[in-house]
Structures are given as structure tokens and as C-alpha cells.
């Protein structure tokens, strides 16, 4: 176990190191801050500003989480605290099924259903023109893709709260909902955060489905109806094709490195939160 842990840690490190080696050519001639914060993406002119892609990733992921987290937590609370055992037996395989659907299928479904829905109904409702290929389309598809993992982990977490703790609250005359709100959720908080982190890391790297519906325009989105071009989509769309352009491959590998670091960064942040929460409650 110990060896495996060291091994997987080592792999992450080796990957990061490899990516860093390969992205050195571009780092040699461009300052990192310009690469990260410049909005100008013109590879043919030698301008590689990643900012639109970084923001695209943050927008799509952020909005996806904003959609997924409340829905998943309510679902998990219902399944773990209220639903009859038979309901749980039925829903578990359904949720697993959702997790097993290939992401291309989610993408197709997004193009066929979500994109037109946004173009014809949702955006006009807010008085906005949108092609439908947008942050919100990517976020909805992504949210649904991360449902299973968040729900699964959260249900487990809620069920691991000892029944006696709930009982203690009920015995004081609290209602079921008061008990869930003040005791169960609180007791489960560290695990709930872990569930969200898992969803988050999955969302960051998810490429295919988002690439199909997010619009892929290299501009910083300013509303959820604008198109976005997340980092993974950039890499998947272009790597292996545009390599005749000087420095392009180095730029894409740098993009991968950035993606890796962003994911690591969020992991570390959430782990710090997790430790804090654990300390203050336990």
C-alpha cells in the first residue's frame, strides 16, 4: 500500500516534470505571467495567451458545480435519510448506469437537447442572443456527468453518520429535518467536501462532452451564455494537428502542465479545508 502510494505520487511528479521539460522552449522566450494572463491567442503570430482557456475552464467547472452540488446533496440526503430501502435498491443501479455512459454520448445529447433548448428558450427568456454553444451548455452536461460520483460518495458519507447521533437529536424533540440540517450534515461535512472535490477533479479534466457543446471560442466569457474554450478542449482539439506552427506543441504541453497544476492546486486547497473542518467539528 505504502509503495503504491509513493509510486502514484512519483508518477504525478514525473508527468509534471516531463511536461515541464517539453514546455521549456516556450518558457524560454515568453514570461510565464504573459502566457497565463494574456488574452491574446494567435499561434501564427507567436502569441500564446492562455487566459481565455483558463477562464473557460473555471467558468464551465464553476457553473457545473453550482448546478450539481445542491442537487446532488439533496438527492443524497433524500436517499440516505428518507427513502425506503427498496427505493435505494432501485436507484443505486440507475446512478451507476449514469456513471457508465461514455462521455461522447453525453456530448451528443447536449448537442441535440441542451444546445437548442438554450438557443431557443433559455437565452431568449433572458433577452439574450446565444447560439446555444455556451458555458451553460457545457456546465449542464458536465454537471450531469459528475452527478453519480458526488451522489455516490455523499450517500455513503451520510449513511456513515452513526444512527445514534441522529437518535440523540430526535430524542430531544427535534424533527427529522432539523436533525438532518443541524446534525447529520454537520457530522458529514468533511466527507461531503471530499465528495465535491472528487466531482471537481473529474469536472476539470473532462474533455469530450464539454468540447462538443461549449462553443470553443478563444475569448474570456463574460456571461454563462457566451461560448467558452476550456483548457482540456484546447489540448484535445489541437494536439497532433497544428504542430507545424512553431512552438505550438510546446504551448499545448505547457497548457497540460497548467491544467495539472490547477487540479493539484484545487486538491490541496480542498484538503486544507477538509482538515480544518475535521478539526473544528471532531
Amino acid at each position: 500500500m505504502m509503495l503504491l502510494t509513493i509510486f502514484s505520487g512519483l508518477i504525478v511528479f514525473l508527468m509534471a516534470f516531463g511536461l515541464y521539460q517539453r514546455s521549456r522552449p516556450i518558457l524560454a522566450i515568453k514570461p510565464l505571467t504573459e502566457l497565463l494572463f494574456s488574452t491574446s491567442w494567435h499561434p501564427l503570430r507567436g502569441e500564446f495567451g492562455f487566459f481565455p482557456f483558463i477562464m473557460g475552464t473555471l467558468w464551465v467547472t464553476g457553473v457545473a458545480l453550482a448546478i450539481a452540488v445542491p442537487l446532488c446533496l439533496l438527492t443524497a440526503i433524500y436517499l440516505s435519510q428518507y427513502a425506503h430501502r427498496r427505493v435505494r435498491e432501485w436507484t443505486n443501479p440507475l446512478i451507476d448506469l449514469l456513471a457508465g455512459i461514455p462521455s461522447v454520448v453525453y456530448g451528443m445529447w447536449g448537442i441535440l437537447i441542451i444546445v437548442p433548448l438554450i438557443k431557443n428558450h433559455i437565452a431568449p427568456f433572458f433577452g439574450i442572443f446565444s447560439t446555444g454553444y455556451s458555458v451553460i451548455a457545457g456546465s449542464i452536461v458536465l454537471a450531469i456527468m459528475i452527478f453519480p460520483i458526488i451522489i455516490h460518495v455523499a450517500v455513503e458519507v451520510f449513511r456513515s453518520v452513526p444512527y445514534e447521533v441522529s437518535e440523540a437529536s430526535l430524542a430531544l424533540g427535534a424533527t427529522k429535518w432539523q436533525t438532518v440540517k443541524h446534525v447529520v450534515i454537520r457530522k458529514a461535512m468533511p466527507g461531503v467536501i471530499a465528495a465535491i472535490v472528487l466531482g471537481l477533479s473529474r469536472a476539470f479534466g473532462e474533455t469530450m462532452a464539454v468540447l462538443m457543446v461549449a462553443g470553443n471560442v478563444a475569448k474570456v466569457p463574460s456571461s454563462v451564455f457566451d461560448p467558452a474554450y476550456p483548457l482540456p478542449a484546447l489540448i484535445a482539439n489541437n494536439y497532433g494537428e497544428m504542430l507545424s506552427v512553431p512552438l505550438y506543441d510546446s504551448a499545448l504541453l505547457l497548457a497540460s502542465l497548467v491544467l495539472l497544476l490547477v487540479v493539484l492546486f484545487f486538491n490541496i486547497i480542498s484538503r486544507v479545508i477538509l482538515i480544518r473542518v475535521e478539526r473544528s467539528i471532531q
Binding site: 447521533v165 424533527t175 473544528s280 467539528i281 471532531q282
Partner: protein, 253 residues
């Protein structure tokens, strides 16, 4: 000895799925006395205790029939408000389970649930009941520390304070000292003896010596059946039933 009845159990049956855990129990629990429920493990003591505050039917697949009267009201009547019943009883479980919050918030939890918002008032309640469960001196400087940092014995007294803070009429204890060291157990027992002036107390135990120290009234269960009940001096000293005699001599346990 004359007893005034507080809880009156009539023909109570409890099923877990198809397993009948309590069989036609009829017994009166006396007011402002310590009633001790004894019997071997698995005989239904916990089930009987949890019937009193209806925790027993909060689980899936549990069927209850019969009546339990509390202050003249059948608590299994579908019309009664369950939270109202539970507010009348403080529960001490086998192991202390503090709520995931501070010492202060644990005690204030019940009063807050029942609508007390005033800070001063809550502070007064917390202090009063921590004193009543003889925990105040040990925690008064760290009321806002997490309750889980207390020792087991302290946690159990905190749970007692938490239960008392909703101003119940009855204290239910399910082997409330079984997880504690002898000294902590003794402190809890001492509390009970003092509290019975104001509260009706029902305690489950499988420790016969504890029953002898505490009991005014004894209920003996065996395999879900009520074998014998009566004043402590009758049941523990001179039982009528063969089964009770054997249990008290330690032949069945």
C-alpha cells in the same frame, strides 16, 4: 408502598420485521421513582425503553401495537405530535453520542429547537443544567470547545445535561454507565438518586448490583416477555417467579 403511575403500558407488542421483540407487555411505571428494567441481553429492554419516546417506530420495518399512556394520552395515537412526546423525555444511550458541535451548543440544542433564542436565557440554561449534571466546574472555561474532546465520562454527563435542558418529566437511560469507568459510573448513579425527586427515571441495566443500588421498582423481561414486576424489595429480594429467582442468583444471564 404506594405508587402513582406516570407511564402506563398496555398490551404492547413490537415486531422487527417478523421477529416479535416484545410480547404483550402490560406494566405501570411509577412517578418520581427509579424504575430499573433488567433481563438478559436481547430480551427487549432497549426496545421497551425506546417505545416510550417512540424512537422504536422511527425505523423501517417496525410494527407496534398496543398502547402507552403518558399523562393520560396514548403516545401511539396517530394524532399526537411525536416531537411533543419526545420533549417530555431525556434519553441517555449506552455510549455517549455528543452532537457534532461545542459543549455549549450541545446543551443549548434542545432549548433552541423549542424556540428559545435569547442569548442570556440560553446561557443561564446551559449553566444550570451543566451544574445539575455536575459537569460545570470541569468545563466552564471551555464551553465553546468541541464536545468530542471531553472524556467518555464527561460526555455522558454532557448528554445528561443536554437531555435535562429540554425540561423533560422523564429520564430514560439505556445502560447509561456501561461505557464508563467505575468512578464516572458512580457519579452518574449519584445524579440519578438526586434527580428522582423531580423526575421519573427509567433505567435499563444488566448489572444486578446497579439495580440493587438504584431501583425503587423493577421490571424483569425475558425473551420479550414480562416475567415479573414490582417494588425493588420484592423482586430483588424475594421474587415469586422461578425465572426471576434464577436470574437473580446468576444462573441465567
Amino acid at each position: 408502598m404506594e405508587f402513582k403511575t406516570h407511564i402506563s403500558v398496555q398490551n404492547l407488542d413490537v415486531f422487527y420485521g417478523t421477529e416479535r421483540a416484545l410480547k404483550d407487555i402490560t406494566v405501570d411505571i411509577p412517578d418520581k421513582k427509579i424504575t430499573v428494567i433488567i433481563g438478559p441481553s436481547g430480551c427487549g429492554k432497549t426496545t421497551l425503553l425506546k417505545s416510550f419516546n417512540r424512537l422504536v417506530d422511527s425505523m423501517d420495518e417496525v410494527k407496534v401495537s398496543g398502547k402507552v399512556f403518558l399523562d393520560g394520552e396514548n403516545i401511539f395515537d396517530p394524532k399526537v405530535e411525536i416531537t411533543h412526546i419526545r420533549k417530555k423525555m431525556g434519553l441517555l444511550s449506552q455510549k455517549p453520542f455528543p452532537l457534532p458541535m461545542s459543549i455549549y451548543d450541545n446543551v443549548a440544542y434542545g432549548p433552541r429547537i423549542h424556540g428559545i433564542r435569547d442569548k442570556k436565557e440560553l446561557g443561564r440554561i446551559v449553566e444550570h443544567y451543566l451544574k445539575q449534571s455536575s459537569l460545570w466546574d470541569e468545563v466552564k472555561d471551555r464551553l465553546h470547545a468541541p464536545a468530542s474532546r471531553l472524556s467518555l465520562g464527561q460526555q455522558q454527563r454532557l448528554c445528561l445535561a443536554r437531555g435535562l435542558a429540554v425540561e423533560p418529566e422523564i429520564i430514560l437511560g439505556d445502560e447509561p454507565t456501561s461505557a464508563l469507568d467505575p468512578k464516572s459510573s458512580q457519579r452518574i448513579e449519584q445524579r440519578f438518586l438526586e434527580l428522582k425527586r423531580e423526575y421519573t427515571i427509567v433505567i435499563v441495566t444488566h448489572i444486578l448490583r446497579q439495580a440493587m443500588r438504584l431501583a425503587d421498582y423493577v421490571v424483569f423481561l425475558y425473551l420479550g416477555e414480562l416475567i415479573e414486576h414490582g417494588p425493588a424489595e420484592d423482586i430483588l429480594v424475594d421474587p415469586k417467579e422461578e425465572m426471576t429467582k434464577e436470574y437473580i442468583k446468576g444462573i441465567i444471564s
